[in-house]
Symmetry: C2
């Protein structure tokens, strides 16, 4: 844990400090597009067993680092561990995504919810963080993560994935105070969860607000952004956790970048529908920016991938404060060799943008 970090580009970029080249990592970099991941998952039996086994979670966390020159590792875990620890009974149906045995839909069910005890109920996650940090041995920093309160709430009320969010939105419009209560408990839970990950060794934390973008601007501020802001503030108020920069990522949040930056987060994640240069002009004086290549670029030929990487680096322009990433998780059918082309292109093509006086 005290081993010095040999590659701190990612953390420097989050602090908007000079770097030699732009750091890069990839959302869902440990995942199904890698044959070695599919092997480990098969050995684990199923997805949840893989998440709950710290040694296997460590194994898949490190797999992409052995293939690609990535500048950060991200804890392998599921986005729904918190509601699972709150007693909702997370299950995965064959090929159909996650669902909860006990969704929460009534005032009583929401009223009974308590933030989990992270060490007893989510101890397997902290153990995974410790095992991964040890295995990394200072190679690159480790990112911890959580789903946002609103995003977790959608799964907890809908009972699983959703397209129209009928149940939680009906509740939000009819009984907004119930959704306030739900995201408030979840903000407390996420704060405790991320704090525990940071204490266990995570050197940065990312909040994935996958479904904030399905809200109106007003509902987004109340039910998604406000609880995220409370998490950021709570982590910053504790000397133990304040050292880990926090990245907020709302998919579809391009219209609200100023509001997101105003939370006090270190960095804002961007999906690919936002122009990176325009985003820098809007909020780049306050936060670092992470993103935002269209994940579908990785279907293209190596030459085209390099061109698109170059175009995105040019959009950001000179100077620090950019963490290269996709604008969303990598698709499952991407060829791993294309990821190598991307990662190498980021390092190679970004060097001129970091020359002194450049």
């Amino acid at each position: 844990m005290t081993e010095p970090l040999r590659n701190d580009r990612f953390l420097r970029a989050l602090r908007r400090e000079p770097v030699d080249v732009t750091p890069v990592w990839i959302m869902r970099q440990a995942g199904r597009y890698l044959p070695e991941y599919r092997d480990t998952r098969q050995r684990a039996g199923d997805f949840l067993s893989l998440c709950k086994n710290p040694e296997l979670a460590c194994e898949v966390t490190l797999q992409p680092l052995d293939r690609f020159d990535l500048d950060a590792a991200i804890l392998f875990s599921d986005i729904l561990t918190i509601p699972d620890a709150m007693g909702l009974g997370l299950r995965f149906a064959q090929g159909e995504g996650p669902y909860f045995e006990h969704p929460v839909r009534t005032e009583n069910e929401i009223g009974r919810l308590r933030a989990p005890d992270v060490e007893s109920d989510l101890g397997y996650v902290m153990e995974a963080v410790r095992v991964i940090r040890k295995a990394l041995g200072g190679r690159v920093p480790l990112i911890g993560f959580s789903g946002s309160p609103w995003t977790l709430a959608t799964y907890m009320v809908e009972g699983g994935s959703s397209r129209e969010f009928a149940r939680i939105k009906a509740m939000m419009y009819d009984r907004p105070e119930l959704v306030d209560r739900l995201v408030s408990v979840l903000a407390e839970a996420v704060t405790g969860y991320l704090a525990a990950q940071i204490r266990a060794g995570a050197q940065a934390a990312m909040i994935f607000d996958t479904w904030g973008g399905v809200l109106t601007p007003r509902a987004y501020r109340r039910f998604s952004l406000a609880p995220m802001a409370r998490i950021v503030e709570a982590l910053a108020a504790d000397a133990d956790t304040a050292r880990a920069p926090v990245i907020l990522f709302t998919k579809g949040g391009g219209g609200w970048l100023e509001d997101i930056a105003a939370t006090g987060c270190a960095a804002v994640g961007l999906d690919w529908t936002v122009d990176l240069g325009a985003a820098r002009r809007r909020i780049g004086d306050r936060v670092a920016l992470q993103g935002n290549l269209d994940p579908a670029v990785l279907y293209a030929s190596p030459e085209r991938i390099r061109e698109e990487v170059g175009a995105l680096l040019a959009q950001y322009g000179h100077g620090p404060g950019h963490v290269f990433n996709l604008g969303h998780g990598i698709h499952q059918t991407i060829a791993p060799e294309h990821v190598k082309v991307l990662v190498d292109a980021v390092h190679e093509l970004s060097r001129p943008y970091h020359q002194p006086g450049g």
Copy 2:
């Protein structure tokens, strides 16, 4: 056809002329949430048979007008009639949405595509327009519509609905000239299709760009907005079609409103992730705005629906140029009585915003 229009609020609002109250219609207002629609569809046999039967298409087009005080009718048809007429073989799998028997994926397949002859290949649509206009008898105006070239292209290349758009985006990044060619043929087809609808009696035209929002800003301008702009220009250049105002609606296009308004369209459709007041400040001096209530508001109680309608009207503020609508199509499980609450609330609560000197 020459019968005078008894309710021209919708057309006046599109021209940003004064109105007594804000006009309202609802995307997918003729649809599965109405029991009488489900009856007609059952009689038709299947969805395509319903679309291709002008009398039945007229019947379902008028159904919502008999229930609600709507200010416009919209042609009942499918978004994929053009590719069907181009020979792709549109089919609907039970409960799984549309697919094409012959998707286009190669240079040859794209090269062979020709814009359909609208009168022979899509005559059933023009006949439906004529039958509906006659049945309307000047009650409210009739809106014609088409999918946008990019949106049609996604279905034609993917072969059906998609989440990741892997095939068309691979093509877009690797062989952008093929996608240029595809959307160019489609722009020609959509122009001819909308022109024919207008000549047959449609008094306004709307282009649904359902999937423009999955693109980067650069790709959106090239593959979605540019072909839409060509359609708008072509319709405006012909005296026969120039009289029908055109509404462009890109779902997820909130970041690009200025670009959309610059096409010369009469109105811009907004989804619910955009603040209507902010949108008016951005482009309301050039175009009318259509939208943008979260469709999920209709799950809430009548009191809450009225409050949300009032809040949206207040966001737009005083004066003309607003066509009230949802920010996307109505969900299938909405209670019809809730739609009545919405429509009546728009008319009742908007009156003060249209007082002279108000």
